[in-house]
Symmetry: C2
Subunit: 516 residues, 2 copies
């Protein structure tokens, strides 16, 4: 029990029925209630106080060092600790080594601060413990789910009032479904087309890690153009080529992305829609990241064409600021869930008028309740403030990067994600003049610098940007390492971003400049 050594000595707790009953029946007397509430207070504020003090990736203890404290592989026969001690341990021993994703200086990933009420909502969902897989274990929650799915569907597709009146609680049709995790949402779609081919931009970023896709040979990656969008010309050529050379192959779907993981780029959805419509191909939009942009009257035009999509995935745990994890899938045609036999569980559930018949497995929690309440508490405008802030702060950040001689903006932000790197102005100029060999050599040196820079800054622990790689210049051997920022925390201001650049510049000038 190395990790708890500092907290308490070995306990003499014993598992027995009396104790077991105590944890299943909530205590009724005032003292016990007060104790339970006190625990909740420690959770809410103990964690918070810690997180407030520790911006960035928290303290320096290395992963290797940490992992050596967690090597106890025997489940103790009797209880090791009481809830109170578990909470103390979590706050004092675990949280300090967790990642403070809520810090405004944490701008490296699609995980950020969430409104505090989300924690309350998640607690309610846990306390109700409804299993939405069956009406019998959820009842009203399934009805709320139908309603909130209709709300988001309406935000995407904006059909008529009559359409929604017909479908919102229609047991025979389906406007969408909650699934577990965004990858699953994308993945399930892919599975349904794996007998045929799917064309999509940039396999890895929109379909999740390659290992999860069984039939990669059925996926045709489409090139990206200079602005990191799907190359429409290459898409058209791919379709023509298939039609000519493999007339028996059916292209079942084309996937466009609205907010690419790496760059935040939005594919030309209207153009893809037009191609899909002409060739009668299913058009899927992966809006896991960008979907919430639809909340913003000012910026929803960036997703123009999304309403032509036959299906759309959106992640609640991204720009809906919900806790992990909540994937959603929407269908333009309320009958398409039947047609593609997407999700037998779900169909069964709504289709089964006679509630006695149980459906099988597929347990999941009532995330719809969290989303429904969040929409009521935030309003579309509340979300829009967050979206606008992200997009506008990212634009300001891009300007700031452009204005500094040591930095190069690599992918300007279309939504609220951008990439850049250390690349002093003189090298930027040289890169434009030199041949491929020399260019690769320079980039390799710059890659080493940016890789080290990101690591040094992360380890310093006061801020965090992530790092990724792109192939550039249509040269498979020319890859550049870039720093990546995702601006979604409303507390992340341009002055914080300037501080982050200052720190990077200082690290570069003091420690890394000699490498180039």
């Amino acid at each position: 029990m190395a990790e708890y050594a500092t907290i308490q000595p070995k306990t003499d707790l014993v598992a027995d029925w009396e104790r077991l009953f105590k944890v299943f029946i909530r205590p009724e007397d005032d003292d016990c209630r007060a104790t339970l509430i006190k625990y909740m207070e420690r959770i809410l504020f103990g964690l918070h106080d810690f997180l407030k003090k520790n911006v960035g990736i928290t303290e320096a203890r290395s992963l290797k060092d940490l992992s050596e404290s967690f090597t106890d592989t025997l489940i103790s026969e009797n209880p090791e600790k009481k809830l109170a001690d578990v909470i103390t341990c979590l706050i004092k021993e675990i949280a300090p080594h967790a990642v403070n994703v809520a810090s405004p200086y944490f701008v490296g990933h699609m995980t950020s601060a969430i409104p505090f009420f989300m924690v309350h909502l998640k607690t309610i969902v846990a306390a109700l413990n409804q299993n939405v897989v069956k009406l019998e274990t959820s009842k009203v929650v399934s009805i709320i789910e139908k309603q909130v799915i209709a709300k988001i569907h309406r935000m995407i597709y904006d059909k008529t009032e009559a359409f929604y009146r017909e479908h919102v609680q229609n047991a025979d049709t389906s406007l969408g479904a909650f699934v577990e995790g965004g990858t699953t949402a994308a993945y399930d779609r892919a599975q349904h087309v794996s007998d045929v081919v799917v064309a999509l931009r940039d396999l890895l970023s929109s379909m999740g890690a390659g290992g999860r896709i069984t039939h990669q040979e059925d996926i045709l990656p489409i090139d990206l153009d200079a602005s990191n969008k799907i190359n429409i010309h290459h898409l058209k050529n791919t379709i023509s080529r298939l039609k000519t050379h493999s007339p028996r192959t059916c292209i079942l779907a084309i996937v466009g992305i609205a907010g690419a993981t790496e760059t935040g780029t939005v594919d030309p959805l209207e153009q893809i829609a037009e191609i899909c419509s002409r060739h009668k191909i299913h058009f899927h939009v992966d809006a896991a990241w960008g979907g919430a942009t639809l909340f913003s009257k000012k910026y929803r035009h960036l997703l123009s064409g999304i309403d032509f999509a036959d299906s759309v995935t959106i992640d609640g745990h991204k720009q809906f600021y919900m806790p992990m994890s909540c994937g959603m899938l929407y269908f333009k045609d309320p009958l398409s869930m039947d047609a593609i036999a997407y999700h037998a569980n779900y169909v069964n559930r709504w289709g089964s008028v006679d509630l006695g018949i149980k459906t099988l497995s597929g347990s999941r929690e009532a995330n719809s309740l969290v989303l429904d309440c969040a929409l009521k508490i935030m309003g579309a405008k509340g979300y829009s403030l967050l979206i606008d802030h992200g997009i506008e702060t990212a634009a300001d950040f891009a300007e700031e990067i452009r204005s500094r001689d040591n930095f190069q903006l690599v992918t300007p932000p279309e939504l609220n994600i951008l990439t850049y790197r250390i690349c002093p102005r003189n090298l930027q100029n040289r890169l434009m003049r030199v041949g491929a060999d020399e260019r690769r050599q320079i980039n390799q040196k710059l890659n080493a610098v940016n890789r080290d820079l990101q690591r040094i800054q992360r380890e310093a622990g006061s801020s965090f940007v992530s790092r990724t790689k792109f192939k550039v210049n249509n040269d498979p051997d020319d890859e550049i390492v870039v720093l990546r920022s995702v601006i979604m925390n409303p507390m992340t201001t341009i002055s914080i971003l300037r501080e982050i650049l200052d720190e990077q510049e200082e690290i570069f000038l003091k420690q890394l400049q000699h490498l180039i």
Copy 2:
């Protein structure tokens, strides 16, 4: 806003930056802290007080009736309500129409009461909001995950201390993985074998709803024997037939189940293991339900042979009594995750020594933290008390059913699930004597009775058993409807089960007897 009409008039809330900041920064002064805690108190006890009063499936308002109150499909531009009102509404308007899965009279599904500390733990996970997909967004939580996976692995496979010392925190090997939902756990396995064939018992119950499996033609269902276990004879024949007639077909996996959804049956794992070993076929055990039986020294022998499985799935939200939803997958061979390229995310994460490189999507919450804490609070013995109670109470229940003339025990409990039906003794005797046609006719009448019975009892709202169907007598046209009980709530006693039978008998005698 029909559903909230009784709670409050239209509000005049406005979304602005001031309000937005308030929900992202937890309030610091004592008054605000007190308010937040008060909300939590209402969640913990308001819900509880309600649930205590309402056993069974809660009140009578029909789903159709309910669904008519949830037809608002427009997201409000400004906030509709504050957190306090959302909580009030959830407690007063939503919870009464939710299902009280925590009632000891709710014995129809694999969802039940959970220890109250689970709610606290889930709250902690939400407050930390770590995304376990990346070390960068989870850090110590990933390390805890490795450790708790080793603990459960050890419970299943019981390898040497040296083995666990080597692998518990080994970045290059993997003893298992958390996945989202049990269906996904089973499903992911299936995907990896979908180029070849998999033999398994009872396709639907162990693989989840059929619609989620793309290549059903690659799945070979194996017959069940009279005790609802995989028919070893048929399994052997199927393998021989394939080897003879399709020598180029590779059987990639055979799936055995440890706790079938319908009946709780455990397949003859040792025998299947022996066959798999002889033919070098991957042996997967779906222990989503039954895995926790390993906690019980008294009953773990019921899962004998599970340690021969190459992989095992277990659901945390079932007999580990965790909130929805937590699937887990374990591997006998710590290198097999590489070999089958199961879960690239996970491998990447642990394999990537250099933390700068982000992995792609696959967000999920830190369920490992909940499981780790639950094991510490309960101890193996605490879980064992629950398991033993379920198995022994189910055995008592079976005896009680056998002792009543109007009931027939259809599948005796091996773990804690059993099925039975209304079938008066005289009909039971007749069914043994008559030919196929008459047998089917009698069964059809009994089916109508049992179907109605289950519905009437459910609608009465004081208790709940589920209902399912079996094919019997190797006759595809002879299906019987049975009532199904799952005994997992420690508050469910034999006297409660007797009350449930009394109620059923009364419904039968007063309302349904004339049908047969």
